[in-house]
């Protein structure tokens, strides 16, 4: 009888070790470089303040958890960086800080801190802030026009390509702009090539399994190739959908978070495909512009279900094989 010993999903492994966190934080630095290049030093200030807010909230809430202040816990740094990179560069400072506080205090602290969260904290923080300050989050500054630390009304804000696609129009972005990320959008999500390079880094460091973002992006491509505007072809539609909004960023950094991802490989693929389907549903029928983020939040809720189903499937297979073996004997 062949018995494959796999750990059960309920047994919590020490996944969020500091090395994994450090790798993810390193992989988030290149988008910050690009943000500073396009929008000036304000991007760095946003990032620093968001990370600080996340860290302080984590320290205060770890006091309540009765385990003392966990000074060395670096996961709020990653949460803060993700939240900052998803914001427009012209956003007032208090909004990403509020998102970070919500993310840590509501999504991490009640569940027991790092390694225990059921939902992606950055996704939940962004979702809350979108509901509260939706209009302020939908206007993006034009890249290559450096912003001062205090943003006033003279800064011109434009809609990103995701909003234009949702309205049924076709965004006009040249190939050169696409490749360099030189179009309006959240601070860190427009540079597709940089994000792809960071994905390669994470794959090489074995922090991310290749099939998770592949399944997600594959599902999105299938949808984009079938449902698109009449004036553009399938390939163009795929490129536009991948580039518009925060899809690639979510696929690389937020979808692959080991704590919320299911444990079994097959379950991970189901999870990624479901996330892709829900993202496209939100893009077509949803009312907010962060489709991928809300879709990820919803799919996080299904993560234990996928594990449970795959585990049952494995058990049934195991029992059938055992029954066959006994028959043979």
């Amino acid at each position: 009888m062949i018995v494959k010993s796999k750990p059960f999903p309920q047994i919590r492994a020490e996944e969020r070790s500091s090395l994994v966190m450090l790798d993810t934080a390193i992989a988030l630095i290149p988008p910050f470089f690009m943000a500073v290049f396009y929008y000036g030093i304000r991007s760095l200030a946003l990032g620093a303040l968001t990370v600080l807010a996340a860290l302080v909230t984590n320290w205060i809430s770890s006091l309540f958890n009765g385990r003392g202040i966990e000074w060395w816990d670096a996961s709020p740094v990653v949460t803060g960086m993700i939240i900052a990179l998803m914001m427009p560069a012209s956003i007032p400072f208090y909004i990403p800080m509020l998102a970070a506080v919500f993310a840590i205090f509501v999504v991490k602290f009640p569940y027991g801190g790092t390694g225990n969260n059921v939902f992606n904290p950055a996704a939940a923080g962004l979702a809350f802030v979108t509901i509260c300050f939706g209009t302020q989050l939908s206007g993006y500054p034009t890249p290559l026009e450096p912003l001062s630390l205090v943003v006033d009304e003279t800064v011109k804000l434009v809609q990103g390509p995701a909003a234009i696609l949702k309205m049924g129009a076709i965004p006009t972005i040249s190939t050169e702009q696409l490749a360099l990320g030189n179009f309006a959008g959240p601070m860190g999500t427009t540079n597709i090539l940089v994000i792809a390079a960071c994905l390669v880094y994470l794959l090489v460091r074995k922090n991310v399994k290749w099939y998770v973002p592949a399944a997600y992006l594959g599902t999105v491509c299938v949808f984009a190739s079938r449902i698109h505007h009449e004036d553009i072809g399938a390939m163009e539609s795929i490129i536009l959908e991948l580039v518009a909004g925060s899809l690639m960023f979510v696929a690389v950094y937020m979808l692959t978070e080991p704590v919320t991802l299911p444990k079994r490989p097959m379950a991970k693929i189901f999870y990624a495909v479901t996330a892709g389907i829900v993202t496209m549903l939100f893009r077509y029928y949803g009312a907010v512009h962060y489709s991928a983020v809300f879709a990820l939040l919803l799919t996080n809720a299904f993560s234990p279900l996928f594990d449970h189903l795959v585990e049952r499937g494995n058990l049934i297979e195991l029992m059938e094989r055992r029954a066959d073996h006994e028959e043979d004997e």
Partner: protein, 196 residues
């Protein structure tokens, strides 16, 4: 058909009875212990809604013009549910005792609760739902959405109990926060506070 499916899907996901409107919180504590209970209760709620929906639609059309509508609206819809419950209870007890043994204990709560009455009242209030077909679609979607919501929360129960949560958060508080975060995700579909 597409109209039916559209209203069904909207009632199931965007205006989910549990997540968007917080009806039927009885489910949170009691039902999410076993899937069998959830399926029975959810099935009963959907059946009750599907039966009461067209009747309520008709009654609503009858009383809509009267001057006392604002006051007797709630009572009229409740009366429909009560009569339906009484009829179902008596008929099942008499003609299908085995089925009655299985679902009899859930029938009162499933027939007369915030979810069923609330769904009937919302359809009565909604100007978009102006045909019997749409009302039926809405009610079926609402019932199915509620069942799926409870199943989702049940599947998360095991995950919640394996969290290293603080003692004050274990159990009901954590279930509430989880329900809240799923509801937050579903706000992405409607974008706004739903009209009460």
């Amino acid at each position: 058909m597409m109209d039916f499916l559209a209203v069904f899907a909207a009632a199931m996901a965007a205006e989910n009875l549990f997540f968007a409107r917080a009806f039927d919180s009885y489910g949170l504590r009691e039902l999410t212990r076993e899937p069998k209970r959830i399926l029975v209760f959810g099935g009963l709620t959907t059946a009750v809604l599907a039966t009461a929906g067209p009747i309520a639609y008709g009654v609503n059309r009858l009383i809509a013009g009267s001057s006392m509508y604002y006051y007797i609206n709630g009572l009229a819809h409740l009366l429909i549910l009560v009569l339906l419950f009484a009829a179902a209870y008596l008929l099942l007890q008499k003609y299908a005792p085995k089925v009655f043994d299985l679902i009899g204990q859930y029938l009162p709560y499933a027939a007369i609760n915030c979810g069923t009455l609330g769904s009937l009242l919302l359809v009565a209030k909604d100007p978009d739902i102006n045909t019997v077909w749409r009302a039926l679609a809405y009610h079926c979607g609402a019932g199915v959405g509620f069942t799926l919501a409870m199943l989702l929360l049940w599947s998360l129960n095991r995950r919640l109990s394996s969290c290293n949560a603080g003692k004050s958060f274990r159990g009901f508080p954590l279930q509430l926060i989880t329900a809240g975060l799923i509801a937050l995700a579903l706000v992405g579909l409607t974008g706004n506070q739903l009209p009460a």
